[in-house]
Each structure stands twice: as C-alpha cells, then as structure tokens.
C-alpha cells in the first residue's frame, strides 16, 4: 500500500503545483493519473500550443509549462501512479482515506485533493448500439498485448496516428490487418501515412476508405463487422474478423469520481470557495477545472491559487495542534525532501578601507 499525506488525483498543472505548496508545508504527495505521462490535457491535447495568461510568462508552450512544474516540484519527491484511474474511495475511522485504482493499486492518505480537470481520458467509443456487448469479446479500444493478435484477423478503424501506427505494427503479427477510415486522407505523421501506403501496395494491409463500421455481428463473441463504403447503403458488406479495434483518440470523462458521494453540479464538483475548496466530504478537496463555485473560471492560474489555499487547510487537518506561519520562499528558501536547499544568497558585509 502506498502511503502519503496528500493523495492528488490528476497530474495536470494544478495537481503538480499542489506538490510544491504541500512541500513548503512539509507534506508529502502522491499523484494518480489515468494517462501514462504527467501534464494532463496540456500534454495530451495541446503540448505545442502557447498559453499567454500564466503570470510572468508572456508566452509559454503547454508542454514547457509542464516540464517547468516537474522541475519545480522535484525536490519534494512526489510519487506517481500513472496509467491507472482512481476508482474507489473508502473513508477510515480515523478520517483518512484509501483510494484504489482500476488496476487494484491502493493508496492510503490523510487528505484527498481531486485535481481531475475534465476527468480521466478514456477512449472515444463509436456510437454502435451493441458495441459494449462485445468489449473484451473481440472489441477493444486499446492494444495492451500485441501478441494477442498473432495470426488473427484484425480490423482497425480510425484515421489518426494511433490507427496508422498500430496498423503498421500489427501488419507483421496478425494474419490480416484491415484499416477502415471515413475519409481517404489520414492525419497522422507523414512517414506513418507513407508506410501504410507501402504496406497496402505490398498487400500486407487492406485499406477500405472512405468507409465506416455501422454494425457488429457475433453470437457472444465478435465474428464480423458491417462495413458501409462511400456512405452508400447499397455498398454494405459483412467483413469477418477476430478483432475490431476502434482507435478514435481519447476524451475526458468525470468517471468513477462522480460516484464518490460528492456534490456535483454541471459536471463539476461543488466546493467551498469562501474558505478552502473542500467538498461536501471533509478531507476531500477539489481544485482546478474539476470544481465549481459561484464565479468559477477554469484557468490554470486559478487552479494554482486554489491549490495553495487548499494546502493550508490540509495542513490544519493533518496537524490540528500546530500553528503554521506563512513564510515567503525568498525568506525561508525551499528545503526539499531530497536534502536539497535553495535560498537567496546572503548579503556580504565588508567594509571599504
């Protein structure tokens, strides 16, 4: 079991900065995120896009902002559980919590800070009415173990990088790979597009465009998908296959957190913004884009502020008998858990003869 003071759910900018503010208060943090890398939507959606409203940064790329935050919090040695989604929460008698992920990893913490942004990123599922019946029975939205597809027939749908890359990768493993896309154009990296064309010409990938999967057939397990070419009902045909892998990118969903008994309004978690961004469950805070209160703005800079005040409240909760006096980092420096110490250089006293 992973033990920490503050368990942060969400490794976006707000969650990352929480580690810094908590660290100044000598509180240890651990972060869970469903994505395999830190940064949240900044890394996942728009790493190369500029942001102009971070105080004192006239312009900063989203990816660089995340890199800077990771550098800033390094001395406080945060733990990470990446690629796992916070699933269940249990409140213990002493007021602490156990949070379990979808893969069963358990985290024990005195305080929970939900910095979940828009929610956890999950695969976008095509709107086929019976698709959920075939999940893990021939339909999957991600490829965990490529060897599962050895000598099998695989149909991949999608027109982005992951559809292209996996088609290329599986061409050598599966017995048949069919790539289906709604358009003739693909929007992946140029070299991937070229590679797919090469594999198509050599007969290693079958390409069906413009086409869409409109139905799934099977008795308990998938055995065929229904393909419609040229958006024409007269050009429909069944394509037998062992696997159907729709790869349409990721979309954020509030997910299991919505069932934690927290007060939800407009797909966001209600918090007390007059005080400390605590939710209706004492000990659980919500900060950044995931929360709502009168006048809420979903801005990174607001998330930073919320994280700072929330940490003060968390400190009081964890140390009810201690009084904390706020110190400027310029005065007190930054002492990391790794033994590092940053501080302002001392002025030199020297007389001039």
């Amino acid at each position: 079991m992973i033990t920490t003071d503050i368990l942060i759910i969400g490794a976006g900018p707000t969650g990352l900065f929480t580690v810094f503010e908590a660290g100044l208060l000598k509180l240890k943090c651990h972060i869970i995120d469903a994505l395999p890398q830190p940064g949240g939507q900044l890394t996942e959606l728009y790493p190369k896009k500029p942001i102009y409203d971070i105080p004192a940064f006239p312009e900063v790329l989203a990816g660089d902002l995340v890199d800077n935050l990771m550098e800033q919090i390094k001395p406080f040695e945060p733990g990470f559980t990446l690629g796992e989604r916070a699933e269940d929460i249990e409140k213990l008698e002493d007021g602490s919590f156990i949070v379990t992920t979808n893969l069963g990893t358990q985290h024990h913490a005195k305080v929970i800070a939900i910095a979940g942004g828009l929610g956890s990123f999950e695969p976008r599922k095509p709107p086929l009415s019976n698709i959920s019946k075939f999940e893990n029975k021939g339909v999957s939205y991600m490829i965990k173990n490529p060897d599962d597809y050895r000598n099998k027939d695989v149909v991949i749908a999608g027109g982005g990088d992951s559809a292209l890359d996996w088609s290329i990768f599986l061409a050598d493993i599966a017995s048949n790979v069919t790539l289906i896309h709604r358009r003739n154009e693909f929007r992946g990296a140029l070299e991937s597009v070229d590679k797919v064309k090469e594999l198509k010409d050599s007969g290693k990938i079958k390409l069906i465009t413009p086409a869409e999967i409109i139905d799934i057939h099977g008795n308990g397990r998938l055995d065929a998908v229904m393909v419609r070419k040229n958006n024409n009902p007269d050009e429909e045909f069944a394509l037998e296959t062992d696997y159907f892998i729709p790869l349409f990118g990721l979309t954020p969903k509030l997910g299991p957190i919505a069932n934690w008994g927290l007060e939800i309004e407009k797909n966001a978690i209600k918090v007390n913004n007059a005080l400390d961004y605590q939710t209706n469950i004492p000990g659980i805070y919500a900060i950044g884009d995931v929360n709502t209160y009168p006048g809420k703005l979903k801005l990174i800079l607001c998330g930073f502020h919320e994280a700072t005040l929330m940490c003060q409240s968390a400190y009081q909760r964890i140390h009810p008998n201690k009084r904390y006096v706020m110190k400027y980092t310029t005065v007190g420096g930054v002492t990391g858990f790794d033994g590092s110490k940053k501080e302002a250089p001392k002025a030199v006293v020297k007389s001039i003869d």
Partner: protein, 111 residues
Amino acid sequence: MSLDINISITDREGNAHEVTAPTDMSLNLMEVVRLHELVPEGTIGICGGMAMCASCQCYIISDTALPDMEYEEEAMLAEAFYVKDNSRLGCQIPITPDLEGLKIEMAPEEM
C-alpha cells in the same frame, strides 16, 4: 455601435431556441450555446475551443455563408462521430454580422 444577430439553435433534445448574439465580443458559436446554457455545461467546449474535441459539433440548417474550414476542424470532423455533410464545429465559427438568421442543430453528445 454593437450589433446583435439572431440565431436559431435546436438543442440535443430537439427544442428550438431563438437567441441573440453580440457580434462585438469575439464570440464563437460554441460560446453562444454555452452563454445561453442550451446544452449541459461540461458536455460542450470540452477542449476549450481548439477544434480538438467534437463536443460543439452542430449541423448547419440554413444556407448562411460560413467561413471555410481550416485543417484542424476538417481533421477533427474526420474522426468525430455523427458527422454529416453539414457538420461544423461551433468553436471554429466566429459570430459576425454575416451570420444573421443562422439556423443550427446541435449534434448528439458522444458517449
């Protein structure tokens, strides 16, 4: 002088709303839908208006002339679901006086 235009927006439940939208606030169509809360908050404009999700997808009903699609919008609509020939991303359509009388229908929410 600011000029408001009239837009007709059919929400995801099929109810039509006649709304006005200011043309001098650099709004886009997605933001107008949010402004009037015509679909639940949190189910539209998820990416913030960067053409990186399709949560503001709408169908253009009137024959109003619209700005051409840029590469990013086109690419997103190639991946989105429920796409029709008249699909556009609301976040990529700035509110200008030329849009007077525009009529749109919101596309279903992706599950």
